[in-house]
Amino acid sequence: MNVIQSGVGELIQPPDMNAFREWNRKKPKALVDKRMTEAEAIKTFLRDGDYIGTELYGTVRCPMSLVNEIVRQGVKDLRVAGQGVLELDMLLGASLVKALDITYIGLEVYGVSNCLRREVESGRVEKVVDWSNAAIAWRFKAAAMGVPFIPVRSMLGTDTLKFSAAKVVECPFTGENICLLPALVLDVGLIHVHRADKYGNAQIDGISGFAAELARASKRLLISAEEIVDTEIIRVQPDRTIIPYYLVDAVVEAPFGSHPGEMCYKYIRDEEQIREWVDASKDPGTTGAYLDRYIYGVKDHQAYLDLVGRERLDGLRRGKHDVE
């Protein structure tokens, strides 16, 4: 295949599908109880410099309790697949990110991410490589397929492609230009789900974002779940199982694990706290104060929930919109 264009961006995590196969072959297939705390999961499976990814999206079904624990333990020099709102803001706010494959990091209706700006414009994030949203999801999909790249028609003709690590080739079947995206295998993937059993069989209600792809693209996969259920509950509706247990390394019970984000059908997002973060993130001092209060200053997720307060959480469960 004739390579017509090569993006100039660094391939932060080059694909090695044979090594991934070997890894997956060795991954334990026994049914063992994988339940543990956030602290144990992060300490056991995450190392400085690892390449990580989170799913879904910082205010929606996002593994915030796991991300908060990463911040609490100060796991640093992380390389991150960047599609996020609050979770990546936390990591950036705590200066734990060294390299980003970025598609979107922002605060949605509240605008540009202040932490992203500070970390990138100051050079503390040393490497930034841009992709489209679907490109990142498709890179996981390629890894999930077990192939080193996937051909797509996104990114063509743009600077997004030029500064990425994608390539343009002449399609051997049609003769047209097509974009090849390299597979992206994560050292550690983090996904929050509605329910899982103790082995890691995990089910998601509502949209599934890119959970199926990210789970299958992860060498180590940490699952947090709103509730841990008996395996028989999983077996009643096996069609809902998006993540089978053998992909999973840790299962963490985390009610309100997406807070201050939402969890569809369970609780709405906490607009008041999201706004508190948006305001705090504008300045490094107040960013630090927020992290002190909600992460460093509490020992675990339960203590965090206690700080937020039962009354407020109950309100979110009832779907009360705290909007002036």
Partner: protein, 265 residues
């Protein structure tokens, strides 16, 4: 969207604000029985208004998996529950963008910090890529929408800072550098920018040279005023229309049904 160009209009005098004007103008562009790739903010309000006015079977499609939602409550995020409220399907991002890549999605909405005469959009950086003056959020789904949807509608604030001769970074493809460029690059033939809706005007693209054309001015806005606020040479249509201001019906439905909690307007 508060805007200097509108500051000389008092809302009490004209009866609507700039956001309401944008929403109503965008809503009118969406036909019934078709598909639209919707992001949060103004496109969502416009799609909801269109569903309640002339397009009850407008199929709203959201990036992270919602297809065919009934937009009763406004989502604050592209993946939240209201993006699949009473929807016909809830899948994931690969399914949605692959649906667009197969040619199933007619309209796509876009925005950005800069737009050029060919409709190329920048939402990545202001300044140099390696040493950015401002690091913006990035493509998100923008590049995918701009690559695969048949017709894209950009919603922009209209001034010389946003309408520039060259964008600092082409995040999302418009007509790139002119006729045939999309096809040469490998993008699906027949796709591309359709309209730009702003607080000052509705713009389209010249059939032959693919540069931006002024089609209509918003109520009370002169052609010269649009020109002065555009940082490149604008083609002026032979017959520039004046957009109809938002009707009483549109405003009532917008305020009482679409955004009754005043989250956006």
């Amino acid at each position: 969207m508060s805007n200097s160009a509108h500051s000389h209009y008092e809302q009490e005098e004209i009866g609507y604000n700039p956001s309401e004007l944008l929403i109503c103008t965008a809503a009118r562009l969406m036909a019934d029985n078709t598909t639209a790739f919707i992001g949060t903010g103004i496109p969502m309000l416009a799609a909801s208004l269109a569903q309640k006015m002339h397009a009850p079977n407008l199929v709203a499609i959201f990036e992270f998996g919602g297809t065919g939602a009934v937009l009763e409550k406004l989502p604050m995020a592209v993946g939240e529950q209201n993006t699949f409220n009473r929807a016909i399907a809830a899948s994931g991002i690969c399914d949605i963008v692959e649906t667009a890549q197969r040619g199933f999605i007619e309209y796509g909405f876009l925005g950005g910090a800069q737009i050029d005469p060919y409709g190329n959009l920048n939402s990545t950086v202001i300044g140099d890529y390696d040493k950015p003056k401002v690091r913006l959020p990035g493509s998100g789904g923008g590049n995918d929408v701009g690559s695969h949807c048949w017709q894209t509608i950009a919603i922009m604030r209209h001034d010389r800072r946003h309408f520039v001769e060259r964008v600092d970074f082409v995040t999302t493809p418009g007509y790139l550098d002119g006729p045939g460029a999309r096809e040469t690059a490998g993008l699906p033939p027949g796709t591309g920018p359709y309209r730009v809706v702003t607080n000052l005007a509705v713009l389209g693209y010249h059939l032959l040279n693919k540069r931006m054309v002024l089609l209509a001015t918003q109520p009370g806005v002169s052609i010269d005023h649009v020109r002065e606020n555009t940082g490149f040479e604008l083609i002026i249509d032979e017959d520039v229309a004046q957009s109809e201001p938002p009707s009483e019906d549109e405003l009532r439905i917008l305020r009482e049904e679409v955004d009754k909690d005043s989250l956006y307007i």
